[in-house]
């Protein structure tokens, strides 16, 4: 164990946590407001990354510019998926909902494989890709820092929206009591539609940023679904406020293990899944 790497590991973990929070907060929104545990959530992320890639290749769009196009595109995709399938299983058993979204995820992933193939895609030649600076021996890349700031702004925007706009109030009302919200005149179905579209939009924006940070393949989606699950589970299902803290915890754990444990890079994913497994099992025992 090399402790001199500790500051770098902490900074990397903190920077990664912004993106994780962004992806998870969308999933938590779908779970909290609509009550749908969306196994296709990570695929929205993947779709966002590949749309940004395509915009870059076809039109030379800078990823920052792509954010403006990917956001409405993902909102439309999310809305279409809600209207064509999710809407019909709202009152079905939880497992049918889960399997349905699992199927949607398989479709999205394989559609992407058909379009883009299985090779990793890189948005190269972005001027700020290799920019960075050093602070007290810790190097900070411009891209991770930028994605951290953008993610936090988006998450903060969502929190503000939920806390102090009529739409946010409607979402919280529906989340608390679906029937009661309908009785006082809220159009519950429309609130669900907006929440699901918003959830897809947030994930898609995260995807654009990961498209710049990494070189994603169409199969990255499930991994991010699981990471988002780990964070949502840690925060408590449906708890949107706890997401930031949980994302920070998980991202730090991942970064510390990857840096400090010898040959720890392969253990990265294991940390996530071990957290999900242990937290779920531990909570189920404690309740008993």
């Amino acid at each position: 164990m090399d402790l001199s790497l500790l500051p770098q590991a902490i900074v990397s973990g903190v920077l990664a946590s912004g993106l994780y929070a962004l992806v998870s907060v969308g999933l938590a929104l779908a779970i909290g407001v609509i009550g749908i545990v969306n196994f296709a959530h990570g695929e929205f992320f993947m779709v966002g990354a590949f749309l940004a890639y395509q915009l870059f290749v076809s039109f030379g769009f800078d990823p920052l510019l792509s954010l403006l196009f990917v956001a409405p595109a993902l909102a439309v995709i999310g809305a279409l998926i809600y209207l064509s399938s999710i809407r019909f299983v709202l009152r079905a058993p939880e497992l049918n909902q889960m399997l349905l979204t699992f199927g949607i995820g398989i479709i999205l992933q394989n559609l992407a494989l058909l379009i883009w193939g299985g090779d990793p895609r890189t948005i190269a030649n972005v001027p700020y890709r290799s920019l960075g600076f050093q602070v007290a021996g810790v190097s900070i890349g411009a891209v991770p820092l930028g994605s951290f700031v953008i993610s936090l702004l988006l998450v903060a925007g969502l929190y503000w929206m939920l806390a102090s706009t009529p739409l946010g109030r409607a979402m919280r009302a529906v989340a608390q009591n679906r029937i009661g919200a309908g009785l006082v005149g809220l159009e519950v179905d429309r609130v669900y539609l907006v929440a699901f579209a918003l959830s897809a939009l947030l994930a898609g924006l995260g995807g654009v940023m990961i498209g710049v940070i990494q070189s994603p393949t169409p199969t990255v989606g499930l991994g991010f679904t699981l990471k988002a699950f780990a964070i949502v589970v840690l925060a408590g299902l449906g708890n949107i406020r706890g997401i930031v803290g949980a994302a920070l915890t998980v991202a730090l754990a991942e970064s510390l293990v990857a840096t400090l444990v010898p040959n720890g890079d392969a253990l990265r994913n294991m940390v996530f899944f071990a957290i999900i497994f242990v937290v779920l099992v531990w909570r189920s025992r404690r309740v008993a």
Binding site: A92, P93, G103, Q109, V233, M270, F273, F277, A288
Partner: protein, 353 residues
Amino acid sequence: MRGLTRDLVATAAFAVLLVFLPSVLREVFGRASVSYLSLATNALVLAVLALSWDMLARTGQLSLAHAAFTGAGAYTVAVLFKLTGAPLWLGIPLGGLVAAVLALGLGSVTLRLFGIYFAIATLAFTEVLKAAVQRLPTAVAGGAAGINVPALFRPTFVAGSMERWEVAFLRNQGYFWVYAGLLVVAVVISVLIQRSRLRAAFTAVRTNEQVAGVMGVNPARMKLLAFVLSSFVAGLLGAVEAHRLGSVSPDGAFSVHTTVLALVTPIFGGLYTTLGPILGATVLAGIEETLKRTFSEGYLIGYGIVLVASILFMPRGLVGLASKLVKRGGASTSGRVGGASGGAADAAAEERA
């Protein structure tokens, strides 16, 4: 008990059919029978996978860990032959046993997890197991690259008395028979469950665990029993697959695809039945073969579409659809027609027709 006898006779007839199928294919199609036989073998693999998953689902445990158990079976075989000179056929039963023991462990810690929580925990378990196998010493488990596994059948070419393609045919025939035997084992286990008091117990646990407890069913014992039986079959399957494919690797052996196939097939065919998974596997294996020839990547999209369409339009699967048609023809009671809001998960709370 008459129902049991009838089912076992039907199973025996089915088994006889499977024994003669390769010879029939060979007579009818000649050289082309090699690929038909491998298609039929894929259907058998899918049927065993689906049926073993369905047994577990009957207790309400919708597992996303099926790849963990086929993978455990595969790795048992691979490690056994890498480290020892054990007899060739020993690996398969051992693979089943290892998977069953693993299931006992996982099943005991997840007893109190329900529905979605159970599903997520089992998926996480699979990923942890995959990472753990990858981290085992390379001398034992081969690391990320994997291990080679000896073939079960090595037919030799005898010049003059046979043609070239017949070597491939004999090899395929061998595996076909092994999988046919495996399917018969799975069907017999499934039939024994369905035609005994276990069926009522499993259904009670799935529908309402508290009530099941009050009625004198031990939910924990039933859930573990289903887990062990299901995983034993899955482990056997994974072990034979390791022999057939000739090598194992962490990504291949613990692939999410296996889990997807294991759950889509019974949902498409008809959950909580013996016939449903087999029927679903036959149709899906055909669809997959067609898609695979058209697209090199992304052919799994067919499974996604089938899964979504099944849940939205056919929550009781092919078997449910068939029995609904039969009922309509016989002008019998209507029952609850499975609409979009019905659901695969609780569909078989009703009796089979």
